[in-house]
């Protein structure tokens, strides 16, 4: 089963959902902190759900305060970078470019895409962590005991 877990993780990297930062985080796990990445991930999704909500509301209001939107997206990009959420991060970058160009249409379109990527990643990571827990002691804890 550990092999299955490893394969799932590999595919997440291969398909570009995660980047090396995720691996950096895994390096920080040890026997005393075996679920660190899962905890960070949970924190990230909780935090980003809040940001998505704020952005949704701002966009629904119809008023395009590009500065405010850019500010939200700066935060979103920041935490996405910290966890290695590669595709989400890319959408954040695109969104910010549209903000700077004052392109409302582009923002809206990108935001829909961003939410999709975010949701997909969430599901995939939940699945991955669930399996990893079932598989037992993580192979990924590389720090020597």
């Amino acid at each position: 089963m550990q092999r299955q877990v490893a394969l799932i993780k590999q595919s997440l990297f291969d398909q570009g959902y995660l980047d090396e930062q995720f691996m950096e985080l895994e390096e920080l796990q040890d026997d005393a902190n075996p679920n660190f990445v899962e905890e960070v991930s949970a924190l990230y999704f909780k935090d980003s759900a809040r940001l998505i909500n704020n952005i949704d509301q701002a966009l629904e209001r119809g008023s395009f305060d590009f500065n405010r939107l850019d500010s939200y997206m700066h935060q979103f990009k920041g935490s996405s970078t910290s966890i290695g959420a590669s595709k989400v991060k890319a959408e954040c970058t695109t969104f910010r470019e549209y903000c700077r160009a004052g392109n409302a249409e582009g923002c809206l379109r990108t935001f829909q895409q961003l939410k999709k990527e975010h949701s997909t990643l969430r599901k995939k990571l939940e699945h991955y962590f669930q399996l990893a827990r079932q598989a037992g002691p993580k192979e990924t804890a590389r720090r020597p005991k």
Partner: protein
């Protein structure tokens, strides 16, 4: 290997680091990075809270300061309210706190911003996402700077100059730039973070 040594070493004193970042995720990651590096960590979510903790907000008496003994402040640059740069300035303006090294983190690699921070007296400027290697290097830098601090009163003596040739810690050089002229090799006002890193790396 090296990580084990750091956490089990009883000879090196524990650094107390104040980590300032408005992002939950980044605070959690930074805390973990610092703890792995055998540092004691206090995290706060804003520059204002950081100043409160350091006893600079005016409400607390200075008596609280002696118990806190923060050895290093690591702060994000872009934060709502007080930015990391403004926090840096306030710390360097304080006679009580200016000796504490301050490191700025940012996700944006903006050269003027980096220079601005270094000129204001920042110890280092780290690009996010911060990695374990960055924290390790930082810790070494600060520990070595701590040794230099002890001999501060002898700063201008020949022995100290030799020490400072290999010591890359600025030790509040921004306010004492005239005396740093005696530290030929470490003309720290001109240093950029990248050249500092090169210096460290070349010493192995």
């Amino acid at each position: 290997m090296a990580l084990r040594d750091l956490s089990s070493s009883s000879s090196s004193p524990e650094l107390h680091v104040l980590a300032v970042d408005d992002s939950f995720v980044d605070r959690k990651v930074l805390e973990r990075l610092l703890k792995i590096s055998a540092c004691k960590v206090t995290t706060v979510e804003s520059g204002t809270r950081a100043l409160q903790y350091l006893g600079l907000d005016g409400d607390n008496g200075s008596s609280g300061l002696k118990d806190l003994k923060v050895n290093l402040i690591v702060t994000d640059y872009s934060m709502p309210g007080l930015t990391g740069y403004e926090l840096l300035k306030k710390i360097k303006e304080s006679s009580a706190l200016r000796e504490i090294p301050v490191v700025i983190m940012s996700s944006e690699n903006i050269q003027p911003r980096i220079e601005q921070c270094m000129i204001e007296g920042a110890e280092e400027f780290l690009l996010k996402p911060v990695k374990l290697a960055d924290v390790k290097r930082l810790k070494e830098l600060i520990m070595r700077g701590g040794e230099a601090e002890e001999g501060k009163t002898k700063k201008l003596s020949p022995k100290r100059i030799l020490q400072n040739d290999i010591d890359s810690s600025p030790s509040s050089s921004s306010s004492t730039s005239s005396s740093s002229s005696s530290h030929d090799v470490s003309s720290l006002d001109d240093d950029t973070p990248s050249s500092k890193r090169i210096k460290l790396e070349s010493r192995g």
